[in-house]
Symmetry: C2
Subunit: 461 residues, 2 copies
């Protein structure tokens, strides 16, 4: 059987995630993000299309680097206002049977003890259909609101995050044995205390004695997602992530990331197939190419210009308004011929001046690749990415809600199914079982599994 | 019209909240707390009985003072394992129309910026049916897991909590104007940036520049609950709380609390009726008194002994196992002839030795008053508490799930309705409108309302 394409919807509990300007479209129901019914409808649609998961991004600050102000972001609804993503998940899980959910939570601001319980609670309530997108957070405006003087330095953030992971692994994997809760009415034992252990974590950044507050949930550790493309970020992902979410703009750079993350994972004793790679994309699909072109024209008429520059400012740290349009930004090459800043500098790998970058930012679909054309053409493009890069699937943002995903599900999915590239039935079980077909728990070769059993103890290992 | 009785259900997202030992009863469905369906069924039952709210307690630690160990608590399922309470609320709100929810969240461990967004999100998702039970937290085992060396001293905790409240009031009441989000497609303005203000809070314990991440929700500030009975706790409640939840054991002590909290509220410019008082109670109701007695016998046969002492240890800080059963505990009288320790020392106001206290702890229904008898008798008892103490209603724990609340709803509520003491229809609107009949927002005379408008600024006021 050909390798199956996995689809996630990429979204956020906010007014406007990535479809800048398209909130102005009269058919866009996006503004209903504050209503549970909006999310239930979306979840049911995705389950109809046999999507793996709804992937929820998050920020805890404002995009205020562009022109040194949050005004452009607010005016264009750029990821502000933004509500908590975890709280919408249980109701969507209640309304569906198979759809999974991946939620973004930063390690920087949430205490690990409370976070571990939240994820365990979600894993219980969703029957094991929960993933966690681990971010170390990037907006200075967020850091300030948590009493930090500024964003923690990039590499230090990952050091803190590594210890954070150690704490939550201990809580999830090691603190409660599977048979701790026995509910033995005759002997009067609800939980056998001998099977609940403190974790006694004392590290450089955290001291958490435990035990964990929650009893073991279907997956214990949620499916771990990560989205870092920097060198340190990829190192972190190779160690921890079971799914990575990557933004790249051509086959070569995507293939580089895919091969690199899998090779690095092997260095941690993991198998290449232990890491699924999802690529970010937008899609405009028509019944015909002409219909797709008509949609693109319609959307382009509504696009906004300043909002996308505000978003770029948040991701890159660069205020494009501080340059002349004819300026060229400095290009920091990284280990891979890729670049951290350059990633945000040009999609086409040709050198672009500031004005050209701004134009590119304001494109419909933003900076992610745009799958475009008739349903057949889009299916071809998806197949092309799969065959030429080694990815496992797509994290699909949506331009129009619910139109974009509906088009994908009604027009493209049947074609992919005909080609034998897309499941016609969900697999049974938890999110991890559906993705990896093994079992609900972390595989033994995952570094998090090393904390199982009695191997607990103090920080440095 | 006679004063109407308000009913809350008092519960917790855990295996066993307060019905120690009754998890052993074969008809108790309590162990299903990990399933959303359990909570949806409960919410629908409560809405059928026209309850005001489901009140959810929480702890972030273990009851490990008794015998210096968490074993007794674990063995008897005493509030452990325990899951996050906020995550079950939206689905219950989705399944109901009128029922409100009050959730316990400590000010000690949750950063105010993230907490404010969680509450705003809940207020949006429930259409304004959310309350927040403000606790300053009491378990040393919780403090340790958040990197604190021990529990913050009692009075300091309230000082921190007061500043915490200032931060969240600023975020909820002052940061976004009602007409900030305009979604003006023609002018391309989603949010008018001039109507979103930073809060620039710089205080002794918190520095939070803001702005708030969420747009204004139906109630902005959730309905504020508080449960402190200490002198400092009552001062805090008188300033902030719109509902208080009080545990007292006879008319005199309940009336003292009710009068005291209302008098203190007046000192903050509030009206006595701005504070609703709910009293903790358990209930065993039969079709006849004989039936209630039969239930009590049945439950008593299942009661546990050590678990309740563990719970007492957590609340009081006293390890009863460290004393002889014939010992008398020291009695610290407080300002009111009440006592902080004594509150946990005796329910009957007579001096009891340790053995007698332990017996009392292990009673069915624990340390809260037990409404008991035929439906008529229980209705009489409720009416008696209402008429003799000035309370507004009851926070009813349940011994058997769903039996206890079902009995209350099917047997007692119709009698109260006949007597004109209980609504036959819900009032319209948000939680605050239902309780106070005014409007969804904090009344202008509430101290939190003082932060509205442009009166923002630095900490000390």
């Amino acid at each position: 059987m050909a390798k199956q394409i996995l689809l996630n919807a990429f979204d956020m509990n906010c007014a406007m995630h990535s479809a800048h300007g398209l909130w102005k479209h009269p058919e866009n129901e996006r503004y209903r993000y504050k209503e549970l019914q909006y999310w239930v409808d979306l979840a049911k649609l995705l389950e109809r299309g046999k999507f793996e998961a709804l992937f929820l991004a998050d920020v805890l600050g404002f995009y205020d680097i562009y022109r040194g102000s949050r005004d452009a972001a607010l005016r264009d609804g750029i990821q502000a206002p933004v509500n908590d993503p975890s709280l919408i998940i249980p109701t969507m899980a209640y309304a569906t049977e198979h759809l999974s959910f991946a939620v973004t939570v930063p390690t920087t601001y949430e205490p690990p003890y409370a976070h571990a319980r939240r994820m365990s609670t979600l894993d219980h309530l969703t029957n094991g259909r929960i993933g966690w997108n681990i971010v170390t957070s990037f907006l200075p405006s967020a850091a300030l609101n948590f009493g930090l003087d500024g964003v923690v330095k990039h590499d230090d953030r990952y050091e803190v995050a590594d210890e954070y992971m150690e704490v939550v692994y201990k809580l999830w994997e090691a603190s409660w044995e599977d048979d701790a809760v026995i509910r033995d009415a005759e002997r009067g034992i609800y939980t056998d205390p001998a099977k609940v252990r403190p974790i006694d974590h004392v590290g450089k950044y955290y001291r958490v004695p435990g035990p964990h507050l929650s009893e073991p949930s279907p997956q214990r550790t949620p499916v771990l997602y990560q989205a870092g493309t920097s060198k340190r970020g990829r190192e972190f992902a190779a160690k921890h992530a079971e799914c990575v979410f990557i933004d790249a703009h051509n086959y070569e750079s995507m293939r580089f990331y895919v091969d690199d993350i899998r090779a690095k994972a092997a260095a941690y004793g993991r198998r290449p197939e232990d890491v699924k790679v999802f690529m970010a994309a937008n899609a405009i699909v028509g019944r015909t190419r002409a219909e797709a072109e008509e949609k693109l024209r319609e959307y382009t008429a509504l696009r906004s210009y300043d909002g996308p520059q505000a978003l770029y400012g948040g991701f890159s740290g660069i205020d494009l308004a501080a340059y002349d349009r004819s300026d060229y930004l400095e290009y920091y090459a990284s280990d891979a011929g890729q670049a951290s800043v350059a990633r945000y500098t040009t999609m086409s790998e040709k050198r672009m001046n500031v004005g050209e970058i701004m134009e590119e930012n304001a494109r419909i679909g933003g900076r992610s690749p745009l799958l475009f054309g008739s349903a057949e053409e889009v299916a071809d493009q998806m197949q092309g990415w799969m065959e030429n890069t080694g990815i496992d699937g797509f994290n699909l943002a949506h331009l129009m809600t619910p139109g974009t995903l509906k088009d994908m599900i009604e027009l493209v999915v049947p074609i992919l199914q005909e080609r034998g590239l897309y499941k016609t039935e969900y697999a049974k079980g938890t999110m991890r079982e559906k993705l990896f077909g093994e079992r609900s728990r972390l595989p033994d070769r995952h570094p998090g599994a090393a904390f199982r059993g009695s191997r607990l103890g103090a920080g440095e290992r």
